[in-house]
């Protein structure tokens, strides 16, 4: 065998070895969690890149803040003050209700705290796999973010944490085709599971019995089943109902409450603090 042939054979063997390593890694990554450490470390090493890419967005944000006119600021201030007053008024009622709720829960000897501890985070504008609904936030394990914690914005549930490293985390949105969230209809109390389908405009509720009491406009909240999402956060509003008569099921589409494609500030809910208290 000539030298060149030997070299070519070496390269082929090396390629086959690396290909099997790749396939093995994909298999393990899909089925088990063992590679989470590897991913988190690579991700940590690459976080400067993420923050670098995020800079222009941050800069434009900062510049637009800087050049806001005096009048605009006064206006903003006024509207915020009014909103604050309204919220305060609502909060007064809320406190009474909360006290009443705690008392009733105590009567029922139910052990669930109402207040959840949150971490405020901001989205990093980096692009991820376009066929999935993943986003990055600028808080990581250093700030107490853990895998499995729920993410909400001002309007409702956005998703949950799937990968973390020290300085940033990856969020899977409720609209991801791989994501499902246990929900409950407020009006009728029917429980179901809302699946994402890769579209930020609606979630799918499959296999509801044709006799289920559901109307367009019904509100969906998290049911707390499954233990991932805390109970009672708004998720979506029913947008359309279609009957699948052949199989006797309803298929329902619901519009997510959270602004999945435009929210920048989000809250991470710490699960450990809410589950069992008192």
């Amino acid at each position: 065998m000539t030298h060149l042939q030997k070299q070519a054979r070496g390269a082929t063997i090396q390629a086959l070895l690396l290909i099997s390593i790749c396939i093995g890694m994909m298999f393990v990554d899909h089925r088990y969690n063992h590679l989470e450490v590897v991913r988190s470390n690579i991700s940590l090493a690459l976080s400067p890149l993420r923050y670098l890419v995020n800079l222009p967005e941050l800069g434009s944000h900062w510049v637009s803040e800087w050049f806001k006119s005096h009048n605009e600021l006064l206006n903003d201030n006024k509207t915020l003050q009014t909103r604050g007053r309204i919220l305060n008024a609502q909060l007064q009622r809320m406190q009474v209700l909360q006290a009443e709720n705690t008392r009733l829960r105590n009567l029922l000897s139910s052990s669930r705290k109402l207040t959840d501890e949150v971490i405020v985070a901001e989205l990093l504008s980096v692009d991820q796999n376009p066929y999935r609904q993943l986003v990055e936030i600028n808080k990581g394990t250093n700030d107490g973010v853990e895998i499995g914690q729920a993410i909400i914005d001002d309007f409702g549930v956005m998703g949950q944490v799937i990968h973390t490293n020290r300085f940033s985390s990856t969020i899977i949105l409720i609209s991801d085709p791989d994501h499902a969230i246990p929900v409950q209809f407020i009006r009728s109390g029917v429980r179901s599971v809302a699946f994402g389908n890769g579209n930020t405009d609606h979630l799918e509720l499959r296999f509801l019995p044709a006799t289920a009491d559901i109307q367009i406009g019904d509100e969906l909240v998290t049911s707390g089943l499954g233990g991932r999402f805390p109970t009672g956060y708004p998720v979506a509003t029913v947008a359309s109902i279609s009957e699948d008569l052949a199989h006797g099921f309803l298929s329902v589409l619901a519009a997510p409450k959270a602004r999945l494609d435009s929210s920048r500030e989000v809250l991470v809910i710490k699960i450990g603090t809410f589950s069992k208290g008192e």
Binding site: A11, L46, V53, D178, G198
Partner: protein
């Protein structure tokens, strides 16, 4: 192995990674060329002794981590096209840039199909036009990538 003059290779891959996650409007998603594959094809053609299968594996893992894909998904695709390239580069190097573009289109298409195939196995639906358009745009960009990286390589005196 780790020499100062090889710094340009690392820098070019860092630029590739930045271009990979640079936020762009949604409609551009399907048409975004695979910069990392282009850069990798260039270096494995120009300096097959330094940039080879292991580089492909590592760059692929970095891409997988940034994009949130399965670890190994981009690595698999990049290792396969680098292997093909290492076997063919001696014949391709002598061709004109336009002819090379056709060859690069083929490599990018294989790369794209492998990545999408794995996405498909995971149960994601991929629009068909995305399979062809991104490699096509990548092939159009090849002459520019080639000229820019060649000038950089000559300035850095890498042979």
């Amino acid at each position: 192995m780790l020499k100062l003059k090889h710094l340009v290779i690392y820098l070019s891959f860092i630029v590739g990674l930045l271009l990979l996650i640079l936020p762009l409007p949604d409609w551009v998603w399907h048409y975004r060329p695979d910069w990392l594959a282009l850069i990798l094809i260039y270096w494995s053609m120009a300096l097959p002794k330094y940039v080879g299968l292991w580089t492909a594996l590592i760059i692929g893992l970095l891409a997988d981590s940034l994009l949130g894909t399965l670890l190994g998904q981009h690595s698999l695709a990049l290792v396969i096209i680098t292997y093909l390239n290492l076997n063919l580069y001696q014949r391709i190097r002598v061709l004109s840039l336009v002819q090379q573009s056709v060859y690069v289109f083929g490599l990018l298409l294989i790369n794209q199909i492998i990545v999408f195939w794995m996405d498909g196995v995971m149960g994601l639906t991929i629009p068909v036009q995305a399979v062809f358009v991104a490699p096509f745009i990548g092939a159009l960009l090849w002459p520019f990538v080639f000229i820019i990286l060649r000038d950089i390589r000559r300035k850095a005196m890498l042979n």
